[in-house]
């Protein structure tokens, strides 16, 4: 069924609703953009890796590597 205007309030509040929609999309864009920028600024991609339920021997620092 097609979406249609059921009440005059939809028309009356159209500006506010679209304004809010724009703000929400803006918020999404900001959080997404910040995530990308912060991730890229780390530089070394390996620093972004971590364990996620499964132990990954590849990212365990080798013994004595810090010395």
């Amino acid at each position: 069924m097609a979406i249609h205007v059921e009440h005059e309030i939809h028309e009356r509040r159209k500006g506010r609703n679209f304004g809010l929609l724009g703000l929400l999309f803006g918020m999404i864009a900001i959080v997404f953009g910040l995530t990308i920028v912060k991730a890229v600024e780390v530089g070394d991609a390996s620093k972004l890796e971590a364990f996620d339920r499964v132990v990954r021997p590849a990212i365990i620092p080798a013994e004595g590597a810090a010395e």
Binding site: I9, G33, V37
Partner: protein
């Protein structure tokens, strides 16, 4: 409540606030000055910032300033309704309910502070939080109705943005950012009092103690020249820091001579003389004060832009 009202005819229905009405709560004209000075504070800092983080930083500072404007309008709705200049604001004109303004102010304050903290650093977020607190509580709730020096101390709220912009980039507070703060802080009183002399305000009717009303217009004229003179070392001192340089210094010397000369002229005359030429000198000094601030910060920006080519700084 809204659902019950939908049965009413269009004429009976209460006014529905638009996005524009809510935006007006944020005092867009004040926000534009905040954006400019915060951007300069961020760009002249010696630490480069990723453009997107810089954008988010300035956006948060602007939204925080807007939020404090909404809180100010919520608190001052009673006196705004009594004064011609402010009677058309969203709350006294009935377009926005006081509770809505309070909700928007609190929500946007929290949003701006948290996002600034996450995007940049805690110092910048802390300074923004203090600025909002200072404007909404210290200035609006406390000083505005209790002392004729409200504009002097309250001016600090408008002076913080370049310092926050600097903190966004560097994560610290230095003499450079303190002097940017001091420049706006010391500039605000003579700028505002010059306006107060030629605009017939109704602050008295609203019970707001402005210097022109509590101490008289001659005292206000004296205060203008004193603050203009105190502003000079601050402006010149900023030129001696790491963000100053020859271009800023020449600009600052010329602007200070121009501004002090104008303030001196204001001090030398009385209201009878001012009435005779329709406050021409006062209006001219007010205009100069706008150029003064804009060109000082513009010169800092030029100085920073020339830095990579070896022409910035001393």
């Amino acid at each position: 409540m809204e659902y019950i009202m939908t049965d009413m005819t269009a004429q009976d229905r209460p006014y529905e606030a638009s996005m524009g009405d809510y935006f007006a709560l944020l005092k867009p004209r004040v926000m534009s000055l905040v954006i400019f000075t915060a951007l300069v504070g961020l760009l002249v800092a010696p630490v480069p910032v990723h453009p997107f983080i810089g954008f988010v930083g300035v956006l948060c500072i602007a939204v925080g300033a807007g939020a404090s404007g909404a809180l100010n309008m919520w608190w001052d709705a009673d006196i705004d309704a009594l004064m011609k200049r402010t009677a058309k604001r969203p709350i006294p004109s009935g377009r926005v309910q006081p509770g809505e303004a309070l909700g928007i102010g609190v929500a946007l304050s929290g949003f701006a502070i948290i996002l600034l903290g996450l995007a940049t650093n805690l110092l910048a977020a802390g300074l923004l939080a203090f600025t909002i607190f200072f404007y909404a509580v210290v200035y609006s709730m406390w000083l505005k109705r209790s002392t004729p020096h409200n504009i002097v101390i309250g001016g600090a709220a408008g002076a913080f943005p370049p310092m926050i912009g600097w903190a966004v980039a560097t994560g610290n507070v230095t003499i450079d950012s303190v002097l940017m703060f001091a420049l706006i802080f010391m500039w605000t009183p003579p700028h505002f009092w010059a306006l107060a002399l030629f605009v017939k305000t109704d602050y008295g009717d609203a019970g707001v103690p402005m210097l022109t009303e509590t101490h008289g217009r001659d005292v206000t004229r004296r205060h203008i020249i004193v603050y203009a003179l105190l502003l000079v070392p601050v402006a010149i001192g900023l030129g001696l820091t790491s963000i100053g340089g020859p271009i800023y210094m020449v600009t600052s010397v010329v602007l200070n001579l121009w501004f002090v000369k104008g303030c001196f002229d204001i001090w030398r005359r009385d209201d009878a003389a001012a009435d005779a030429d329709n406050y021409a000198v006062e209006k001219q000094v007010f205009k100069i004060s706008l150029y003064y601030l804009f060109l000082h910060f513009g010169a800092l920006l030029v100085q920073a832009a020339l830095r990579p080519y070896g022409y910035g700084g001393w």
